[in-house]
Amino acid sequence: MLEKALHGSLRYRIWIACLILVGCAGFFFYLRQLDYGLGITGMSRDVSWGLYIAQFTFLVGVAASAVMLVLPYYLHDYKAFGKITVLGELLAVAAVVMCILFVFIDLGRPARVMNVLLHPQPSSILFWDMIVLSGYLLINLVTGWVILACTKKEIPPPGWIKPVIYLSIPWAISIHTVTAFIYAGLPGRSFWLTAIMAPRFLASAFASGPALLILVCLILRRWGRFDAGEKAIQALAKIVAYALAASIFFVGVEMFTVFYSQIPEHMHHFQYLFMGLEGHHNLVAWMWIFAVLSIAAFVMLILPGVRRNEVWLALACIAVFVSLWIEKGLGLVITGFIPSPLGAITEYHPTGPEITITLGVWAAGFFLLTVFYKIFVHVRGGTDGSPCGPAVDKMIH
């Protein structure tokens, strides 16, 4: 099936070329980083994690979101998702690959990455995160690919795939929970030291992932010869709406606890985020964009009339994705380090190379995603029975 990704329309080829270009730029700067060290990034002694780990955190959520398709379809027999569960699984694969890449490029000594396996430390959450992430990658790759292959062959999927799919449901929860535990279990970082870290992660995951899926479905419907079905898209939109509501609620809960208790150590981080602290307000504008976008998106999604409008839906989904990216991909990780345990405020400014490398990884992920979806659309298009006349027309210019 892989060969299907080698051919495509001009638009497809341009898109792929762009992704490869960005990927290559990222790779070039990664080589520079390998040569110079992580000092090429904006990370510092105080803010020792930056864009890379933040993207990782955000994308674990995107990956986990596949469960929002699998669960209704396989546990509750929600038929409308039948056509697109594979999309969710393949999205999870691409997202997990990006996660792994982001962790890898964040390593100071990438050549030693195998030490995690050679000297496993069960007390380390990162060790468990590696296990759940690679397991999740495998599960989704296998289920997505096997179901796709069976669709192409027009045969029912093999019996053993069902238990694997069921396994993927708790597994999806686990990847985000374990990732949240990386942060939530650190004694000195009061910003992360909260029991609702995992629920917060899950809530935002179930909003951002399906939002991306809706966007993909809208794109495929318009340009990709594949219609996921209005019912499926609307159901997804409702999932996004309520997950987003939960996500906003959780942030509110955190703020209440922090500001009503008035414990300075806990308050400082939120003050830095939303108001600025001691003249430092790098993230303030971003966070207010997050606040406005997420609430606006929630309103749009909760109103049936607006939600059913394709354009508004797309806008709302973009707003969800962007706002949660700000919240997870910028705010959550970086703010944990500001102020530092010694009360110092060191601002973090990602550098050009760092941003390029980050974009490069995103490009790699989207490359994978595009390839998967190209194959998906081909297989679906091939079996859904569209007459092949127009296809022939396209081949003859």
Binding site: L2, V113, M114, A149, K153, I396
Partner: protein, 331 residues
């Protein structure tokens, strides 16, 4: 099972070579190892050239490319220059894709009967592991140039550094060693386990895989478990390269085994199916241009044949032709 005998025999053959090498190592090998490398390499080179010349001597009387894509015909029809080359560039591209990317194997599918109908599934494992095995083998061979060049070529150093990028152990595990063995394991298991492939497999098929596996395994053992004095190994190798062979000093049994397997491999290669290394370049269905109708292909032995001429034909049917009102040459 009759076919299992071949597997058993090839294991025995490998074991016998290992024992012979061990014995040779004990019995003061130096003399041996002064002649053997040249003999093996000579056989390899001469055999290879001989086989290729032998093929080349047989002409290609007809132009028989197998076309796997739209041919070049009318200008407004998009042709597929790689799978159906219309010119030398296309043919070169096709060969390159075949040799470096295993293009044809990439097409592989798997047929099975499900619910009373044949279905064709994607089956790229053979392609994947085949490519992995061959690519790793190439890297391994190139890496060994460090023993044959002084000073070591920078490219070889770079390749080794890249290959040992993941710092697993000291000395670092070469990834190509691992992928080579993984590829071999796949190919061997596939041959031994799939009933159809086992049915068609000959002794030589298993032997070839096991021989290369033995080379790789002894190499790995030497690098990671029974270290040898690399200085002495290189001195020995450079001795060969400069035609001033010196016996390996303090050579270990494993080194002798490794060398023996290598010698047998390269000496046997030209006379075995491993000659597909050279043969693929010569395959007429792949390396020919599909320009049959636009450029005449010459058959050097275009033997004359007896044909039925129009004259003979008209002589037989003239009356009937006339009766039907068809024109004839001779009234």
């Amino acid at each position: 099972m009759k076919q299992s005998v071949n597997i058993l025999l090839s294991f025995i053959a490998i074991l016998a070579i290992a024992l012979a090498a061990a014995a040779a190592g004990r019995a003061d090998a130096p003399g041996w190892f002064r002649i053997l490398p040249y003999a093996a390499f000579g056989l390899f080179l001469a055999g290879f050239v001989y086989r290729v010349i032998r093929w080349a001597k047989a002409p290609v009387p007809f132009r028989i490319p197998a076309t796997c894509g739209q041919g070049k015909s009318l200008p407004w029809i998009k042709s597929n220059p790689l799978d159906n080359p219309a010119g030398p560039l296309g043919a070169i591209g096709r060969m390159a894709a075949e040799i470096f990317l295993f293009r044809s194997l990439f097409r592989n599918s798997q047929t099975e009967i499900v619910d009373g109908r044949p279905v064709y599934g994607s089956a790229k494992w053979l392609w994947f592991f085949g490519l992995m095995f061959h690519g790793s083998l190439l890297v391994v061979v190139l890496r060994h140039l460090r023993f044959f060049t002084e000073p070591v070529l920078p490219a070889v150093t770079g390749l080794s550094a890249l290959d040992g990028f993941l710092e697993i152990g000291v000395p670092a595990l070469y990834l190509s060693d691992a992928t080579l063995l993984a590829g071999l394991a796949f190919l061997f298991l596939r041959r031994a386990v799939l009933p159809q492939v086992r049915y068609i497999s000959l002794f030589a098929d298993y032997f070839a895989l096991l021989l290369i596996a033995a080379v790789a395994a002894t190499g790995l053992l030497m690098r990671h478990f029974f270290p040898v004095d690399l200085n002495a190994v290189k001195t020995m190798a450079m001795g060969w390269a400069t035609f001033a062979p010196v016996a390996p000093k303090d050579g270990s049994v494993i080194l002798y085994m490794h060398l023996c397997f290598v010698f047998i491999l390269i000496a046997w290669l030209p006379f075995s199916k491993l000659m597909h290394l050279g043969g693929i370049f010569m395959s007429p269905t792949r390396n020919m241009i599909n320009n049959n109708r636009s450029l005449r292909h010459i058959n050097p032995w275009n033997t004359p044949v007896k044909v039925h001429t129009y004259k003979e034909y008209e002589d037989e049917f003239r009356d009937k032709m006339k009766a039907a009102g068809l024109p004839v040459e001779k009234e």
